[in-house]
């Protein structure tokens, strides 16, 4: 992280770069004594996202019209995107229907929580906190294994670690590799990919803000002030890049969820 690479400045009383600690905002109910471990803003945002998603989608479909209004159209487009674009295309026409709610909830839950990072005052992508990302990954991981066991019984584990069509002598190598790849690395990458991109984006926003403030307010030099303005302009571009990444990561997370479920349903097919 860039913040760690600039330690010397703080010693001289100059620029203090933001650190990961700053992504942990003060706790509202500090039931847990340690800083950053209580019930804080991030958790309120999780709750807010649930309320908003529920409100939007129930209000949009309250009185469904044959010819939808703007809100219904937007909601239906979103629903159809997850239903057809992620669910049907990945899991397949035959099995995708029961998984629509999970994919829908996953996608919009993560999407909205990511977009919180782009909304002024909220300005924090919830999934930049590892706990939330882990929770989501655990849910999907559990679902994946449950689906596999339901469809293939205990043979599911064998199917997952022993790819078919591989010569027998390579199996001693394949089995540990496949085990690590599927059962250990998979949930970690699934969660950390989301958490790391969100945290990095958040850090960039914080760094740009702190840097620009330092350059404009703290420095007497006009050139430095101008540089600060440039940092702000640059941060606007970064903001839009972040916006793209936020949507993309939500999509990737939901897409991987669909891929995992499809893999569990048709574990014997590959």
């Amino acid at each position: 992280m860039i913040a760690f690479a600039l330690p010397m400045a703080s010693e001289e009383g100059g620029f203090v770069p933001p650190t990961v600690s700053d992504t942990h905002l003060p706790d509202l109910f500090p039931w847990m004594a340690e800083y950053g471990t209580g019930f804080g803003k991030q958790m309120l945002m999780i709750v807010l996202s649930i309320v908003l998603i529920t409100w939007f989608f129930t209000a949009a479909i309250k009185n469904p019209k044959l010819v939808p209004g703007k809100m219904q159209f937007l909601a239906e487009s979103g629903y159809a995107f997850v239903r057809n674009g992620i669910g049907r295309d990945i899991i397949g026409e035959k099995n995708f229907r029961p998984w629509i709610p999970l994919l829908f909830a996953t996608f919009f839950f993560i999407l909205l929580n990511n977009l919180f990072g782009a909304i002024p005052f909220l300005q924090l992508p919830s999934f930049s906190h590892a706990g939330s990302a882990y929770a989501m990954a655990i849910i999907i991981y559990g679902t994946w294994i449950a689906v596999g066991l339901k469809n293939h019984g205990i043979k599911f584990f064998k199917l997952m670690v022993m790819p078919s069509g591989v010569p027998g002598w390579i199996m001693p190598l394949m089995i540990p590799l496949e085990f690590i790849s599927n059962f250990i690395v998979r949930p970690l990458t699934h969660s950390l990919r989301l958490m790391a991109t969100m945290l990095a984006g958040h850090m960039i926003v914080m760094l740009a803000a702190a840097g620009a403030r330092y350059l404009i307010v703290m420095q007497e030099n006009l050139a430095m002030n101008g540089l600060g303005v440039l940092v702000i302009v640059g941060s606007v571009a970064m903001y839009f890049l972040e916006l793209l990444i936020m949507v993309l990561q939500a999509f990737v997370f939901a897409l991987l969820t669909a891929i995992y479920i499809q893999g569990a349903i048709e574990a014997d097919a590959h």
Partner: protein, 184 residues
């Protein structure tokens, strides 16, 4: 102090990979709640709306197709009826023509017959009248002749029976003479 120490220091204060248990709890429970709402309320409503739309569109198409089919059928029916009507009209016209000719022929025959009948009747009547006239003439002529003769020969021939005989003889002679003249 080198930078590694700072990384360690920062890591010690807050390691971004170490989760806050509250986050896991809130996210997990929150997501479960959201999933429950989606399963129970949102997804069924969207699916229903989608189904309704599909039904409405397909229904509309079917209805339009049915209407089209019906229109075509009606058109075909009308055309068939029109053709039938035309054939019928032609047939009736033809029939009427032949019937008219028949009637005309009948009337002609009938009129001919009637004319013949009337002619015959007239002939018969004329014959009868001629006979009657002949008889009456015969008696009148006889009377007149007798009267004339009696005037001429005075009362000599007052005897009726005799006079009658004379007249008859005279007339028979006259007739015979006439017949002989006719045969000549």
């Amino acid at each position: 102090m080198n930078s590694t120490d700072f990384i360690l220091a920062a890591g010690e204060s807050v390691n971004p990979l170490l989760p806050n248990p509250w986050e896991i709890l809130v996210t997990g429970v929150g997501f479960a709640l959201l999933l429950f709402i989606v399963v129970k309320v949102i997804a069924p409503k969207f699916e229903q709306s989608y189904e309704d739309r599909v039904t409405a569109i397909e229904g509309g198409l079917e209805k339009a197709e049915a209407a089209q089919k019906e229109a075509e059928e009606t058109l075909a029916q009308y055309k068939a009826q029109l053709l039938e009507a035309r054939t019928e009209a032609n047939r009736i016209r033809e029939e009427a023509r032949s019937e008219g000719a028949q009637i005309l022929a009948d009337l002609k025959t009938k009129a001919g017959d009637e004319a013949a009948r009337i002619t015959e009747q007239a002939h018969r009547q004329i014959d009868a009248e001629r006979s009657a006239a002949l008889a009456s003439l015969r008696s009148d002529v006889g009377t007149l002749a007798t009267e004339l003769a009696s005037k001429i020969v005075d009362e000599a021939l007052q005897d009726d029976a005799r006079a009658q005989r004379v007249v008859d003889k005279f007339l028979n002679d006259l007739e015979a003479q006439q017949n002989a003249g006719a045969s000549n």
